[in-house]
């Protein structure tokens, strides 16, 4: 039997690279590379990631060693960003602090996203009372300002870096659940979901193999953007004394400690503040760029 199509084959571009997966990524990279702001964001994130990883090698001083005679020194050749009220090197503390901030930001986002994704997909896919229940709980959680909810959780669990991660992750859950639910509702109405149902696939297969990969774009974008706000929330918690405990170097804690010396030694607060700003801007720029690159509708 021979049904070789002739007309159709012409419609397919013959000069096509062998690997289709590579082709997909290529167009994504191209779009991303064109976006200067996104590149700048990616650069900032990369730099901070490297600084965090290699902090022990780069840091000029031990971040925890007191050097009381040298306290509150302005930036100098020995202490590039000056010293704090106990004479510790601010640059070293910021470098070590980036480890905590990045880990807290990324871990809490991953944790919150995982739970949020599962709740959102279940909610959107099954609908009915499951949906109503999950979404109403999310509404309640979202009714609190993020920092207030995190504060409440930390005050119940106790102040520590781990509990900050849990608290910040908790607030991520409803945000992710909502986004994922919306995307699931869109995707589950598409024909290929009907088609795979008509092939006899069970729900778990449909959810994880057919819905989840198709809603990854908004999840990735939201994750990147959420890391930024997670870093801010974590710093804020530390600033309020409900997060990472001193003497561990943490940006929020540094701000809190420098607060009393704003008038005499503003560098105690300016530098950690700037660093928080920079990282957050980096994640936000990169997240926005990702959104544009992953959205098939954005032409540029």
């Amino acid at each position: 039997m021979d049904h070789q199509p002739q007309i159709e084959t012409m419609a397919v571009n013959p000069a096509r690279p062998e690997n289709s997966r590579a082709l997909r990524w290529k167009s994504f990279y191209k779009k991303l590379a064109k976006n200067k702001a996104a590149l700048a964001g990616a650069f900032i994130i990369l730099v901070f990631a490297l600084l965090a990883i290699f902090a022990p090698l780069i840091a000029p001083h031990n971040p925890s060693t007191f050097d009381l005679p040298n306290k509150l020194q302005p930036p100098s050749s020995d202490n590039w960003l000056g010293t704090d009220d106990k004479g510790r090197d601010i640059l070293s503390r910021i470098l070590y602090g980036s480890r905590i901030s990045l880990v807290v930001g990324i871990l809490s986002t991953i944790l919150g996203a995982l739970v949020g994704i599962i709740l959102g997909i279940v909610s959107g896919y099954y609908g009915k009372w499951v949906d109503t229940l999950i979404m109403r709980i999310c509404d309640v959680l979202l009714a609190f300002p993020g920092i207030l909810l995190a504060l409440a959780i930390v005050s119940v669990l106790g102040a520590s870096t781990t509990n900050v991660i849990i608290a910040v992750a908790f607030y991520a859950i409803p945000t992710f659940a909502r986004i994922v639910r919306g995307s699931t509702l869109t995707v589950k109405k598409l024909e290929y979901i009907d088609a795979i149902k008509a092939m006899g696939a069970r729900d778990t297969r449909i959810i994880f193999r057919h819905i989840l990969p198709n809603i990854m774009s908004p999840i990735i974008v939201q994750s990147t953007l959420y890391i930024a706000s997670a870093i801010i929330t974590a710093s804020a918690l530390s600033f309020l004394g409900m997060g990472t405990k001193p003497p561990t170097p943490e940006w929020g804690t540094m701000l809190a400690q420098g607060r009393s010396y704003v008038a005499q030694a503003p560098h105690l607060t300016i530098f950690p503040g700037l660093v928080i700003l920079l990282v957050v801007v980096g994640f936000n720029l990169f997240g926005d760029g990702l959104r544009d690159a992953l959205d098939p509708r954005s032409k540029k």
Binding site: H3, P5, I7, E8, V12, S20, M199
Partner: protein, 341 residues
């Protein structure tokens, strides 16, 4: 041809499917009777909203619940009622015994998986094959549906293929487990005319080769003439005429079928005037006419048509038609009520 019950692979009896909306109940399928013989092709024809797609979704129990629900009726497949099956039993039947091709090849493939992966997946849902063997079978299936260089195509994503190619992949997926019945819901509507012919030819050849029974849902009478053995014409959720494909074209009995046939443009006639159309439009599903649902648009309608719903009656040549014209009561009726000039 004398057919016993065993020859029927699928028999739909008095199927009623309704959608329950805020405005009320919509009887999308209202007492449909159909049957498909083994290895044969049944065409379901009707305009949009006549319930033809809902009929096919009801057979596979793929309705969007809880809005859409099978209210009553039986769907007998190989002697067993599908309406009574559990969800798990239905999953085992879908794809394995009955599978379905959808209208839109552009959207009925998952964009994040390669064509080969999608075919292999359908195989692995029902057969215990390892990944390698399933992949090999997927490549075989692509070859079977006439896709050139199948090894290469199997690694490509749907977006890299043309519409016709994708529909071939869909056919490969649906036939991967060698189902006894294939339901094709407007398989060629979204394709170019030249590709349509190729796809129909392919389905026809594969049907012959694999012995699959086929149910084609279409609004294209050309497809019906090309493919079908039997035809059911649907209007407003009811079968109005059920006949052999030849009879439908040579001796249509229901005024709606006649209207449909008349509205097809013909090549062999010099058409000076406008195409003939069926006056009026499909009635509002919330307020269906009391009598025959076609009566408000029917040129022959008489008093009885507006008040009493005709049954699907067998006529002298074994075809079934739902119209008062063919009943004894017709002569007793007065004048036609719809005066369409």
């Amino acid at each position: 041809m004398n057919l016993t019950k065993e020859d029927k692979i699928l028999e739909v009896k008095n199927l009623c499917t309704s959608f329950f909306t805020d405005e009320g109940e919509v009887k999308a399928v209202d007492g449909v009777d159909l049957s498909i013989e083994k290895g044969k092709t049944l065409g379901i024809v009707g305009e949009s909203g006549s319930g033809k797609s809902i009929t096919s979704l009801s057979i596979l129990r793929l309705l969007q619940e809880p809005a859409g629900r099978i209210k009553e009726g039986e769907v007998i497949f190989k002697g067993e009622d599908l309406v009574k099956k559990t969800k798990k039993q239905m999953r085992e039947i879908r794809g394995n015994n009955i599978s379905m091709i959808f209208q839109e090849p552009m959207t009925s493939l998952n964009p994040t998986l390669t064509c080969g992966e999608q075919i292999a997946e359908s195989i692995r849902i029902h057969q215990k094959l390892n990944k390698k063997k399933a992949w090999a079978k997927a490549v075989d299936m692509l070859k079977l549906v006439g896709i050139p260089s199948p090894e290469k195509r199997a690694k490509q994503y749907p977006f890299e293929l043309s519409g016709g190619m994708r529909q071939r992949v869909m056919i490969a997926i649906s036939l991967a487990c060698n189902p006894e019945l294939l339901i094709a819901d407007e398989p060629t509507t979204a394709l170019d005319v030249t590709i349509q012919a190729q796809i129909l030819e392919l389905i026809k050849n594969l049907q012959k080769e694999l012995g699959t029974s086929l149910m084609i849902i279409t609004h294209d009478l050309g497809v019906v003439a090309e493919m079908c053995d039997k035809v059911a014409v649907m209007y407003c959720g009811k079968v109005v005429e059920y006949a052999d494909v030849k009879t439908i074209f040579t001796n249509p009995k229901h005024p709606y079928t006649i209207g449909l046939l008349n509205s097809v443009p013909k090549h062999d006639e010099d058409v000076e005037g406008d195409l003939s159309i069926i006056p009026g439009s499909v009635p509002n599903p919330f307020h269906l006419p009391e009598g025959c649902r076609f009566a408000p648009r029917c040129p022959h309608a008489k008093e009885i048509c507006l008040t009493k719903l005709p049954h699907l009656e067998e006529t002298f040549d074994g075809d079934k038609v739902r119209c008062w014209i063919h009943s004894e009561e017709w002569e007793k009726q007065g004048k036609a009520v719809n005066a369409h000039e």
